[in-house]
Amino acid sequence: MVEYYQPTSLQEALKIRSENKVTPYAGGTDLMIEADENLCYLFLNKVCEMRGIYEDAEYIRIGAACTYEKILQSELVPQILKDAVSQIAAPAIRNLGTMGGNIGNGSAKADSALVCFALDAKLQLSSVSGSRLVDIDKFYLGRKKLDMAENELITEILIPKADFGRYSYFKVGARNALAISRVSFAGVLSLKDGRISNIACAFGAVADTVLRFKDLEKMFLGKTLAEASAIKQDFVSAYSQSIVPIRGRVSMEYRKAVCMNLLNEFLSQSDI
């Protein structure tokens, strides 16, 4: 029989990861599309430390092998993430699929990764020699290129505990269930004393990684909604210049047009 690993503790999982050439398998729903029978899997679905959802003073901590269904049931998880997760695939996939797997697969179409970009989430990466935290946007280096060493595992997704204020999540696919995003958008906007204190606009399934332009977001920071509305056209045209989609299952032109529509919809919903 070919070797396989199904550890029940994180310590055991990290040791196996460091000593063997293995492919980490959380929910399997991305990996099994290709189903390469020559791979040696490190099954993470029984590792207790990676299956729960906890909170500490700063973060909601979602175990990398926690299923979408558990995320939907959790009272700790912010609604924007639940909105995204509830539109992923269908129940039978949500019973298996995980955020850790979705992110580790490296696709810019990963719906849960998109929300992580909008919420400034961090990833905890662990190995036998220790753990480190990485900002989600620094984790994605390019198409299917991740800042992750051969001996590391994504162990947790950390969502800052903050009031994200207004949010919009849009997924454009070919059908309601079981759809791969053609374009997706996650936006948040919060106000403090009547002024915009945080804004994030993230675009998924458009380029090699999720797109977010922090420099452009700064145009609105510190402004009232009325002041932001006054420069809305400049804001939108700056995005129009910055978003350069790649061709995929759908054309560049289509993706670009949908991105701009979704951005405009988010701004309208935010009273800008």
Binding site: M1, V2, E3, Y4, Y5, Q6, Y25, G28, T29, L31, M32, I33, A35, D36, E37, N38, L39, C40, Y41, F43, N45, K46, E69, A89, A90, P91, A92, I93, N95, L96, N176, A177, L178
Partner: protein, 157 residues
């Protein structure tokens, strides 16, 4: 680890083949459970649905190694139950079956809807079967059948 032990339709079984093999293929080819249908092998159609530890999953999306210690029910095991008898009668009563290819998966999806919500709304039924594609009936008859089963099988779920 050198074997994969699990409970299949109530019996303890052992698998010593490739841990990276798809559960779908093993169920059909090794265990000859051909009620588990193969539609797409990419998690898009639900024809291969089975119940693992009480949850609906697509068996094409599962590598054998991940199910060590699990309990699996396929349509062959489920059709021995009183709940199945109710669903069977309800599906037949409104002609919810045409070609039948999606039906083993659809019936197990219905079981999971009713196990979670014994008296589901139409929306809850539609979400529950949203991963199971049927190209014949247009779904209305199937949704109707599941509603009827919820009424007729009152107390079973």
């Amino acid at each position: 680890m050198n074997s994969i032990d699990f409970v299949l339709n109530g019996k303890e079984v052992k698998f010593t083949g490739n841990p990276a093999a798809r559960l779908l293929d093993v169920l059909r080819d090794d265990f000859r459970l051909t009620g588990v249908k193969c539609g797409c092998k990419e998690g898009e159609c639900g024809a291969c649905s089975v119940i693992i530890d009480g949850l609906l999953v697509n068996s094409c999306m599962v590598a054998m190694g991940s199910i060590n210690g699990s309990t699996i029910t396929t349509i062959e095991g489920y059709c021995e139950t009183a709940r199945y008898a109710v669903l069977d009668k309800a599906f037949a009563s409104v002609s919810a079956v045409q070609c039948g290819y999606c039906i083993p998966g659809m019936v197990l999806a219905a079981e999971c809807v009713l196990a979670k919500t014994p008296h589901p709304t139409e929306d809850e039924i539609r979400v529950g079967i949203s991963g199971n594609l049927c190209r014949c009936t247009g779904y209305n008859a199937i949704v109707n059948a599941i509603s009827i089963a919820a009424k007729e099988g009152n107390g079973l779920w």
